[in-house]
Every structure is written in C-alpha cells, then in structure tokens.
C-alpha cells in the first residue's frame, strides 16, 4: 500500500475520492500535532530534522521512513517510543482504535490518512 498523498494517479485509479491539497495539509497538521503533543520540545526537534536532513513537515506523510531515520539518529532508542506514542495520538485524533500489529510506521500513517479522508467524505 502507498500513501495517498504521494501518488495521485494510483489513488484516482482506486475509484476513491482523491484528497485535496487542503485535506492533505490538514492531515499533515494533525501528524505534526500528534508528534509535538507526545514529546517535549517537539517543535525544536522538527526544526532540527529540517535543518539537518532537509525534512519538511509534509515529509512525515510523504517520506515517513526518512522522518523515522532522522528521529532515530537524534533520539537513539527513544525514537521507537516516540513513534508509538505519536501513532496512538494520531489514531485518537482521526477516531481510530490503535491495535498494534506487524505494520510499519508508514502503514499506520496510511491507515490513519485513509480513515481521515473517509471521515472528511462522510462529512460532505
């Protein structure tokens, strides 16, 4: 599975609603919030990742592996805990129950994003 925000063509072919730029932007804000709320001085960490690895906030959605690599580089073993807390926080925000399994960070984010888009569609 790939992240909808990454590959517009694939998403269109799936027959579902293609997320608008505004929806993506709002979801990225949710991602950032999820991170900042679960770690003290999260803003500073994001700024550091941006300066050191060139990781922008929207890269958390489009290149989640890079985000995790940067986080691990900075936080060492603590990155895994932050990753988990961030996913739990994000699932709460989109109204999903988080069940831990074999999924990767990218897959959890994709699942949350799909749920977020689905709920946005239902609102209409």
């Amino acid at each position: 599975m790939s992240v909808r925000g990454m590959d517009e063509k694939e998403k269109s072919e799936s027959g579902r609603h293609t997320p608008s730029e505004e929806e993506k932007r709002r979801f990225i804000n949710l991602l950032v919030e999820s991170f900042v709320e679960c770690v003290r001085f999260g803003d500073s960490i994001l700024r550091f990742l941006e300066l050191k690895y060139g990781l922008k906030k929207n890269d958390i959605l489009s290149r989640p592996e890079y985000f995790i690599t940067g986080l691990k580089d900075l936080m060492g073993g603590g990155a895994a805990v932050i990753e988990r807390l961030m996913i739990e926080n994000l699932y709460r925000k989109v109204g999903l129950e988080c069940e831990w399994g074999e999924k990767t960070f990218r897959e959890y984010i994709e699942e949350a994003f799909e749920e977020y888009i689905r709920r946005e569609e239902n609102k209409r």
């Binding site: 770690v39 003290r40 001085f41 050191k52 900075l74 603590g78």
Partner: protein, 478 residues
C-alpha cells in the same frame, strides 16, 4: 592540536585537559555571582573565532548586547567588530524569556545551522530553566535536545549555571549528570584569610585530570595558573641591574618592588617564611634576584646557611640562572660552611666550626668588612635562621639575631632571614625583629606569596617568560 579537541582559548587550561574540550561536548560552567563565568565564556568564543577560526554564538538571557559588548572591551574583546565578520553572533534573548523556551531553542538551532557554528555559549542555562513549565523539562531539554543536537553537529557548548551564594547545588542538579565536563569557579580563602579565585574541574570526559583544583586570574583575561613545575625557562641573557629607588634596595624583581613600595628598606631586616611543599626553585625564584641585583651592582653578598650548605652548588646556580662569571662571584659572594664539611675549597667558601657562636660571629663580621672595603657599598646578608638554630640552639640564635639586626641597621645593609616550615617559635621571634615579613606558601600546585608586614594581597608566583633570566611574575589573586 588534536582534531577531537576544541582549544578552550583560556590561557593555561588546554595543557591541563589534554588540549581542550572534547569536540562536540557539553560543558557545564558553574559558579557564584562574580566568579568569572561570563569572562570565561566570552573568551572561549572570542579567541575561538579570532585564533582558531571557529564560528561562535553567544546566547545571553541575562545581559543585553550593549552591556555585554561594553564590559568585554575591558579585556580587549571587540565583539562588535567580530560580529561584522559574520563568524560571531550575539543572541540577545533577555526579553525573549517570556516568549517560551521552545522559541528560544528554535532560534539557537537556526543560528547554529545557519552559521555552521562550532562554539556555543548559553548564558545562562539557569535563566532558561526558570522559563520552563516543569522541573522535569530541564532534564528533557538537556538530554534530548541540547546534548544530542550539539553532539550531532559537533558544536562544543558551554552552559553557564548560576550558583546562589550558600548553595551546595549546581543548578537543577540535572546538568552535572548530563554534561560531558563540569567546571566550577569560586573564591576560596588562602594565605591567612586572603581571597583567591579557584577553578575546579570535577568532570571531563575522556580526559586525564592530574589535579582537581587550580588558581586563576582575570588580569589580562582568564588565565589558569599552572603548577610551577610545568613551567620552564631558558636563560637568554645576563642579569641586568635595577637601580635602587631612594631609601630602598631593589629586590631585583620589578613585580616584587611594586608590591613593596619600591623594594626592601635600607638597613632593613626581612623575614622570608617558607611553607610546606615549597621547592628550592620556588623560593629561589623570589630571593635570588635580590642576590643577583646586589652582585650586578658590584655589592657584596654573604650567605650564612652553616649546616647542609653547598657553596659550589649555590654559585653554579647563580652562574646558570643569571650569567655571572667566576670572577664576579669570587669577588662578591661569600658562603659560610662548616669546616667539617666536604672539604671543597673555593674563594667564596668561608669555613667556620659551628661550635662557638662568638668565634663564628667574629668571622662573619670580618667577612662583611672585607666585602665592604672591597666594594665601598652596603652588603646583603642571607641568613638561614632555622639552620642557625640547629647549629647554635635557640639561645645562641637569639643572641646572634640581636647582634646581626643591630649591625645591619647601623651600617645600612640588608639582612634577609629565611625560615622553613615547622619552626614557628623561631619565626615568631624573627618576625618581631623584622621590618618586612613575607610568606611563601603553596596550594593547588601554585606558589603563593603574601606580606604579613606590611599586609599585602595574595600573589601567584610564576616564571616571567618575558624576562631573559628567571624572575618571578607576581599576579594578584583577586
């Protein structure tokens, strides 16, 4: 210079910590108000930029840019000019404290990246901690933000920590565990209640620390005194005589002359007390220039060590240290020695028996007269008081001192009595007779000189490296 070390820019410190701070380390600099933390930090940044080409940032949460620049000019640190080069930035965050730590940290991170800074000072971390919501945030800020980021970009950072008077704790107590190095500045009492600045290195990752405490001065910048044993001299010229000021004999050292208001008084008695762990070179560095100045001014010198003396060794030191010739010493130097000694003959060795005090004193007086007749000038008498007590006993010593003091005053000579440690009853007696009473002690590996009579400040003793022959460099400790 090892690449894994960042030279501190603090005079004398790098030699004591394997060449500098470990590169990319977090150094905690703690101390009471007024102990020199800001000067240390400013010098670290200023010399780091100027002399090692390492861009630096000074983050101030306590002092405004104008106040900081102005006060640092006193030490010759022209920060405003440094800022124009683009290799230095002053982040004046005094007014930012209310806006939150997150903003402050972000500004610091941005500046470090933008400038590719290799040096950073946060003055003070204590002020930053005050702006935090919870005490635990101090640990998080240090462990997860500052220390990790700093290590990643190899920006060697000093965190200044303010320690209130009377407090035993350093900041929030988290800093000292997280930091790679901890340096504490304080003032301690030495030399009968005189204050001296002390630097304590309690932690320095990957560094061999030979001793925990050193003295330092702020005169001419932040400078740590090295143990005298680590200092070397190489004689590059012959001793040049110093002219006596009116009514005084120059000590042969401009620094000591200044402390004593021009030198020793003519016809004066000087007691020089030597504390424990003082090496021969330590006290000779202070006293031998007086001997050298007398000889260089064509004046006679009599040394009365009696037992344990080695006239040959003493003469060879005067030659080696100050460049005197055999002829000069043969004509002007006289050293008393026991006739039962090594039997060595030399023109300056005067043998006495050490049995009858009056008999030996007669030789003493004759020798002085001989030197005076030869030069027509006053004489310097160097007397080892404790050795005389051993030779003649306390009663004999008292008698001898009484006679010698009266003669010195009458004839306008100079007598310097030397007393070693452990003979307080002798030094008390001698102190009562003296016009000047100096003490040389040693703490933290540094010899310290001070005057009891007249009372003076405390001075660190070093070898004056600017002099072509060994002279003491005396630096006031406060």
């Amino acid at each position: 210079m090892a690449d894994d070390r960042a030279p501190t820019g603090i005079y004398g410190l790098d030699l004591l910590i394997d060449g500098g701070f470990p590169r990319g380390s977090l150094i905690l600099l703690a101390g009471n108000p007024g102990t020199g933390k800001t000067i240390f930090s400013a010098q670290y940044i200023y010399r780091g930029v100027k002399e090692y080409g390492e861009p630096g940032i000074y983050v101030s949460l306590c002092e405004s840019r104008d106040a900081f620049y102005k006060s640092m000019m006193r030490f010759g640190f022209a920060f405003s000019r440094l800022e124009e080069t683009g290799d230095f930035r002053f982040l004046d965050l005094v007014t930012m404290k209310g806006k939150g730590v997150t903003q402050i940290i972000r500004m610091i991170i941005d500046a470090v990246y933008e400038m590719k800074a290799k040096r950073l000072v946060i003055d003070s971390f204590s002020a930053l901690v005050q702006a935090l919501e919870k005490p635990i945030d101090a640990r998080i800020l240090l462990q997860t933000i500052l220390s990790r980021i700093i290590r990643t970009v190899k920006c060697t950072t000093i965190l200044v920590s303010e320690v209130p008077f009377g407090s035993e704790r350093i900041g929030a107590s988290v800093e000292e565990f997280v930091a790679d190095g901890v340096i504490i500045l304080r003032k301690g009492e030495h030399g009968e209640g005189r204050l001296a600045r002390e630097l304590s290195i309690t932690k320095m990752r990957g560094t061999r620390l030979t001793q925990p405490l050193y003295f330092f001065t702020l005169e001419g910048g932040f400078r740590v005194f090295q143990p005298l044993e680590l200092q070397r001299y190489e004689r590059k010229g012959k001793f040049r005589p110093i002219t006596d000021p009116p009514g005084r004999f120059s000590t042969g050292s401009n620094d000591l002359d200044r402390i004593l208001g021009g030198g020793y008084p003519k016809g004066g008695i000087v007691l020089f007390e030597i504390g424990e762990n003082i090496s021969n070179f330590n006290w000779q560095l202070i006293l031998f220039p007086t001997l050298a100045n007398f000889i260089a001014n064509n004046r006679g010198c009599l040394i009365v060590p009696i037992g344990g003396s080695d006239a040959g060794l003493l003469a060879s030191k005067m030659k080696r240290m100050y460049g005197f010739t055999d002829d000069e010493l043969n004509g002007l130097l006289r050293v008393f020695g026991l006739s039962a000694g090594d039997g060595m003959e030399s023109p300056y060795l005067i043998k006495v028996k050490g049995e009858d005090i009056m008999e030996d004193y007669a030789v003493w007086v004759r020798t002085i007269e001989e030197l005076k007749n030869r030069t027509g000038q006053p004489i310097l008498e160097f007397v080892s008081i404790d050795m005389m007590e051993i030779t003649y006993g306390i009663r004999g010593l008292r008698r001898l001192l009484g006679m010698a003091v009266a003669r010195t005053r009458r004839e306008g000579n100079l007598t310097i009595g030397i007393v070693g440690p452990g003979v307080e009853h002798v030094s008390k007696r001698a102190a009562a007779l003296s016009d000047i009473h100096l003490k040389l002690i040693r703490d933290h590996g540094t010899p310290l000189l001070y005057g009891c009579k007249p009372r003076t400040a405390l001075y660190a003793v070093e070898i004056d490296q600017a002099s072509p022959y060994p002279l003491p460099r005396l630096t006031q400790m406060t």
